[in-house]
Each structure stands twice: as structure tokens, then as C-alpha cells.
Amino acid sequence: MPAVRLGLSLLTVSLVLSLLSPVADGRLRDAVHAESRTLTLVLEQDPPQLDSTRSTDAVSIRVLGHVKEGLTRYDERNQLTGGVAERWEVREDGATFWLREDARWSDGEPVTAHDFVYAWRRVQDPATTSEYAFIMYGIENAEAVNTGERPPSELGVRAASDHVLEVSFERPIPFFARLTAFAVFLPVREDFAAPRGDRYASSAADMLYNGPFVISRWSRGARLTLDRNPHYWEGDAIWLNRIDFGYITADTRAELNLFRDGKVAMANLDSETMHNALQQRWRIHRFDDGVLFYVGFNHRPDRLTRNRNLRRAFDLTFDPHEFVNRIIATPGNRPGVSLFPAWMQGAEGRLREEVPPRPSEVDLERARHYLELAREELGLERFPPIVLLTGDSPTANKQAEYLQSMWGQTLGLDIRVDVQIFRQRLAKMTAGDYDLVLAGWGPDYNDPLTFGDLFASWNLNNRGRYASDELDHWVRRAQDELDPHQRVQAFGEIQRIVHDDVVIIPTYERARLYVMHPRLRGVVRRQISPDPDFNRAWIE
């Protein structure tokens, strides 16, 4: 069989040759390359939705944060600053934004107020099915447009001129300027997006950009390359020429191996890969990613957990310090003590310094006393099994097992752990098919209200259906009040009620750990997306 032999030798030769020839992606295009001003990174998934009016996930919003710019944005010190808007004025009944005249789309056309009007109407148009539409509620007619009662043209936003945007409110939105930094408020140009229909933002060519970068290449699932946008109005402030998301994988081990091989400039660490990073003696960075985790209760009328004394018994046996240090046991997480995370801003400084939360306490005597009260109030001989719903990650499992054994020992309760994948856990939470749940909440915008209204009776994300007139009252105050100090007081009251009524048991505030190339500078980490932000990064 000479043909086989020939084939074999050819194959061998080609394999050997391919091993000897320099790899196309060799060291020239390393993680950070100062001469070409290129940065290479991992993206944990292909962005699912780059149509900014419909994006909901962190990866899409991160990419959008580099290729588009809204009215406002957050700067390197996480302070609100002008984006397309040069200045603005937020009043009780509305807001005005004056747009800079040198803001340009990537095809050279000016960014105008009409592009915002079109985008916001598009968000509220029920045909768009934008899941974040609710975040604009408060703008005049937003909810009515979104539910189809009024046409999109009646949304309370209009272009007074090409460069003046007028917004009218149904109710005051004191933090509106901060809100406009969020992805759904990004501009979309009608003459570009409308003809493309569902194809809009599905490929690099079907998108128009007005941010510091443009998507120059997007091979779905494989690579996403961002190149400097020559039309960006503040091009001088941008140092990098290219941000290359050269690898798309959610595997943290692969990410760390790529980092170790000098292929990517940054790698997120989890509890496993953290040990490898420690062994390598790399500098490990940490930051609060903004997410609060908690044990949620089902407050529906037919549930035992509706009983406040039972909830107090749970609360008085839970020690967040032990939980963070001994159970989660990766460094950097903060014990949960409040509905509002530590990084949240108040009127002047940190919210939690302006209205300090009550420290959590552990008191077995009182816990057992409340448990006994609950048993009598509920008219029970003994407690039936209580279902603890949780996700399927190793961390979530570890936490659930700890709570199961801890409450078994201290309160003598039979806790049944119900492990579900993400979407099934959500479905069960929404249906109310649980007693306790391990859940988390991350901020949408930089105002305490993003946590503060979570347990308002009308909030659809209040999946435990907690309802209290007192809490609702203070949430409305925080929504309508313009004076920052008055608002902080309202948040203080919300914090107190959530604690006293044991609406939830805060467990921890998550920290993210990562390693980064030592020559990479100017990367901004923040709790509000886009995070991480490489727009103004540079290589030393």
C-alpha cells in the first residue's frame, strides 16, 4: 500500500514542519504590546446581544461600554462625567442635556439628540421586547408606551434641536444623570438600525459606533477585536490602538494558563485557580464587584417563613463572619450586614457611614425562644422539613450544606437542600416553590435605590413577595425626594426595616480576585458596568 505510506510520511513531515515554523500568533502579539499599543484579553462568552436597547448581560454591556458612549459615563475615579452630553440639568419634572457638537459616529456623521430619542423609543416599544425597559419608567409615558397603551412617539423625550435633548418625567428621578450611563440609554441611529431590522448588531458590519473603539472583527465564539475609533471626539485621551479579545472561553483554568503563557493581560481567579496564582507568587488584585448575596425568605401567605419569629430565629443563629472566613474561604469577601453594600455612595461619603447598619448578632438563647414562639403561633406540633433552594455552583453547594447542618444543629430544623440550575432556580423563585433561597443582587445603576426598592411590594424582582406598607412608604420617599440628605435618611429606614423584619439575611458582599500584567495601567474596575473598563488603559 504505497499510497498509505506516502500519506503517512507526508503527514509526518507536515506535522514536524508545523512544529518548527514560528507560530503566526507568536510572541510578537503578546498580552501587552507597547509598540503596536495592543492589549489581548479573554472574554468569557460571545456577547449575546449587542443591540444596546436589548442587552441585559455583563459581557455585552462591557463590550458596548468600549464601542459606544451615552450621554454620561463614569471616569477613571468612578465619578460621573460627560459623554456625548457636555452638560445637563436635572429638575423635578424633567431634564435637559446639551450634546457636544464634535461627537461623531464611526462613519463620520454627528451624534445628535435624535439618535437618543430613537433609541429610547425603541427601548419602550413593546415590539423590541427590551427586558430593561422598566429602568426608564418615570420618564413621561414610558410605562404606557411599554405596555402598548400609547405609541412610542408619545414617550416624554424630544430633540429640541440637533444638540439639545429634552426629557420630561412622570415622577422625579433625582439620579437621572447617573442612570443615563446605563446601556439601554445608549444612542442608536435610525437610518442605520431601522433598515437592518433583527440583523442590527448581529455582526461587526451591522453596527455603528460612537465610543472610543469600534469592532473591527468579530468571529462569533472565537475572537472579538476592537480598534481605535478615528472619529471619537476625545481620541487624544485614548492610548490603546487595539483591544483584542483573542480568546472566548469561560474556563478559568484555561484563562490562567493563557495568562501564564503571556498570551492575555488579565485573568479572573476562582477558588481553584487562586491557589495556582498564589504558588506563582503573582500579585493578586481584589475589588468589590458590587453583588450582595443573601438568604431570601418566601413571604407568601401559605409559607412558614412568613412568620417573623421563625425568620428571627434563623437570623440570630447566622454569623456572617464565620460564613465568609470559614465557609466561602476565598479572601476578600465582606460579611453581609446590610441590604446596602459597603461601596454604595450616600449624600457625601459612603452610605453606610452616613446611616450605619445594626451589627449582626448571634444569640442561641433568643433564637430558640423565637423558634418556640413561631411554633406556637403556627400551631405546629413540630416543624416540617424546610426547603432551601440553591444554584448548582460548587460555592452555592458548600454554602447550602453549611446552612443545612448549622440550622440542623442550632435549631433542630430539618433543612432540605434543593439544587437547581440557574433558570430552574429562577423559575422556582418566581413560582414561589421554596422556603429559603440562596440569591444575589447586583446593581443596575449607581444609586442606593438599585438595592433600596428591591423589596417594594410592586417590584417584580421581589420574588419572595415581601409586602410592607412601611417599607413601601420609604421606598417612595427615596424615589421622589430630591434632597440628598433626606434620601439618605429614607435609605436608612429601609435598611432598618429589612434588618428588623428579617426580610432577608445578608450573607456576604462578593469580592473578585484577578491577576493582571504588571505593565498594564489605567484599568478601571467598578461595580456598575462596564467592568472592567480598558478605554483609558495604557502600557508602561
Binding site: 413593546p126 421586547t129 472561553t249 433558570r423 420574588r463
Partner: protein, 312 residues
């Protein structure tokens, strides 16, 4: 021959229909909400979303019939998770990647398996046999994600040690990117084929026609090629079809670890995300692919071994 082919094709279509129906039923029985997202949606948005994906109609018969009709036209609809892409586009882009990787992996597996298997049989119970069979047991029992992680680590060390990028750690685009993942992917099959080849070769070694050939003074290498290998390789070809399908479809972990934009990864992610349209699209596609491979191998088998052709 044509009638045989036609009959097998019709059987194949029925099999694919059965796979599609069973998957459809199983998928809708799994608890969970494909439209659920962390941020709760208002009722009106929810309804528009359901209408967009046709979830507002009863699962059976309406949704099922619509699905069958679309499937017959080769249209699997829009993905739930990659909201502005059609499932067809996703498969068309991801499958060639998996296929390239799969072909190379099968090549590794088949060549390695046949050669190693023959080697062990000819050296039965001697040192090469013992060593290779020990490695084969490791290859069969250790799952591919362990090899993937170890292989990647080895490449990191190698590059570190040599100070050059000898092999890429992960990624996709050049031939070098394919080598390690293909090897890892093919390893299990290679081990399996080695064992199969060994036993099949052992049978052939002691047959009369081999003895006759030797007695006639045929050179040993020619005996090996013409008389032993060609006859022993038949069972290997039989399992090659399903093996090709298994390799091209089984690359989920390998694709994830090496950041390869293939279909295996798409498929598993679709299941985790309850992406109804993408689950159906990838399952039917994989099912059809597997069925086609089995048919092809049967036909190929008839070509290699005339007895099969005459028998039918």
C-alpha cells in the same frame, strides 16, 4: 446496491424524526423557563417575547407541528440566547470548526490505534505490549478534560522552558491551534481502537493464509501489510463511523478548555441555557450527522469486504 442505499436512507430519516420528537418532548418536560432572566420582566414584555418565539401556543400539537414543518424546510428559527442570530447560521459557523478538529482527531486516533494495536499484537506479552496496553487502559479510563488540562499545562511549561511560543495554549485560527486539542480529543478513541486492533490482529496472526504466505516465502513486511493488516482492520472500520460522529460531537470540554468556537460547546451551552431552538437545531443536526455516518460506514464496509455486499 441502490435499493439497499435507498432503504438505509429512509430508515435514517425515520430515525432523525424520532430523535427530534423525543428531544422535543424531553426539552419541554424539563422544568425551567427558557425566557427567565435575573431581572424580572413585566407581563407585557413577557407576552411579546413568548409570541416572538411561538411559546404562546400550546406545546402539543401546535408548537410541535410548527417545529416539524420548519424542520422539514431546514429552518430552526432564532436562538434564544444569541438573540439576533438564526440557529442555522450558528450551526453553519460552528460545525466546520468541530469538523476540522474532529477529522484531525480521527486521523490521530485511527493511525495511532491501528499501528499501536498491530505493534502490541506482534509483540504479544512482551515489553512493548505491556507498556502500550497499560497506557491504553489509562487512555480509556481518564476523561478527556483531564488530558485537556494536563496537555495545556504541559504546553505552558514547554513554552516557558523554551522561551518561545512553540504551541499555542488555546485559541483557534491556525493549524498549530488544532494539534493539541485534536490529540486530546482523539486519545480516548485511539486507546479504544488500539485494543480492538490488537484482538483482531491476534486472530489474524494465526490464520492458515498467513501461515501459507510465510511458507511461500513472502517477505515479512509484505505479509504484514497485505495479509494481516488488511484483514485485521475491518472491525476498526466498522466502529470508525460512530467514532467520527462521537469525536466531532463530543468535543464540548475540549472546545471549552481550548477556547474553540465549535458546535459541541454550542450544544452543551444551549442545554444549560434552555435555549429551545438551539437545542433542537443542534440535536437534529447531530442526530442526522450520526445516522449519515453509520450509513456511510455500512456502504464503505461493503466496498472493503465484498462478502457483505454479496450477502445483502
Amino acid at each position: 446496491m441502490w435499493r439497499y442505499t435507498l432503504r438505509r436512507l429512509i430508515q435514517g430519516v425515520i430515525t432523525v424524526w424520532f430523535i427530534a420528537t423525543a428531544t422535543f418532548a424531553a426539552m419541554h418536560m424539563v422544568p425551567g423557563d427558557p425566557l427567565g432572566s435575573e431581572r424580572a420582566t413585566t407581563e407585557s414584555i413577557r407576552q411579546s417575547l413568548e409570541a416572538r418565539y411561538g411559546l404562546d401556543q400550546p406545546v402539543f400539537p401546535d408548537q410541535y407541528l410548527i417545529f416539524l414543518g420548519n424542520m422539514a424546510r431546514g429552518d430552526f428559527g432564532i436562538s434564544f440566547t444569541q438573540q439576533n442570530r438564526s440557529v442555522n447560521d450558528i450551526i453553519l459557523e460552528a460545525f466546520p470548526v468541530s469538523a476540522q478538529l474532529g477529522v484531525l482527531a480521527v486521523l490521530f486516533a485511527a493511525l495511532g490505534g491501528v499501528l499501536l494495536g498491530a505493534l502490541t499484537a506482534l509483540n504479544r506479552n512482551r515489553l512493548p505490549d505491556v507498556i502500550i496496553m497499560f497506557l491504553v487502559i489509562l487512555g480509556i479510563s481518564i476523561p478527556s478534560f483531564v488530558f485537556a488540562a494536563l496537555g495545556q499545562l504541559a504546553v505552558v511549561r514547554l513554552n516557558d522552558w523554551s522561551g518561545q511560543s512553540l504551541l499555542p495554549v488555546a485559541g483557534w485560527g491556525t493549524f498549530q491551534h488544532m494539534l493539541l486539542p485534536a490529540l486530546v480529543l482523539g486519545l480516548g478513541t485511539m486507546a479504544f481502537l488500539t485494543r480492538l486492533m490488537r484482538s483482531s490482529m491476534l486472530e489474524v496472526v494465526n490464520t492458515d493464509y498467513v501461515r501459507t504466505a510465510r511458507a511461500k516465502g513472502v517477505p515479512p513486511l509484505r505479509v504484514f501489510w497485505r495479509h494481516q493488516l488488511r484483514n485485521a482492520v475491518l472491525p476498526v472500520i466498522t466502529v470508525l463511523g460512530p467514532a467520527i460522529a462521537a469525536i466531532t460531537t463530543g468535543g464540548f470540554v475540549v472546545e471549552l478548555v481550548f477556547a474553540i468556537p465549535g458546535l459541541g460547546r454550542t450544544f452543551v451551552e444551549a442545554v444549560q441555557q434552555l435555549d429551545y431552538t438551539l437545542i433542537m437545531g443542534t440535536t437534529v443536526f447531530y442526530g442526522a450527522f450520526l445516522v449519515l455516518m453509520v450509513i456511510l460506514v455500512d456502504l464503505l464496509y461493503g466496498w472493503v469486504d465484498p462478502r457483505v455486499r454479496l450477502g445483502s
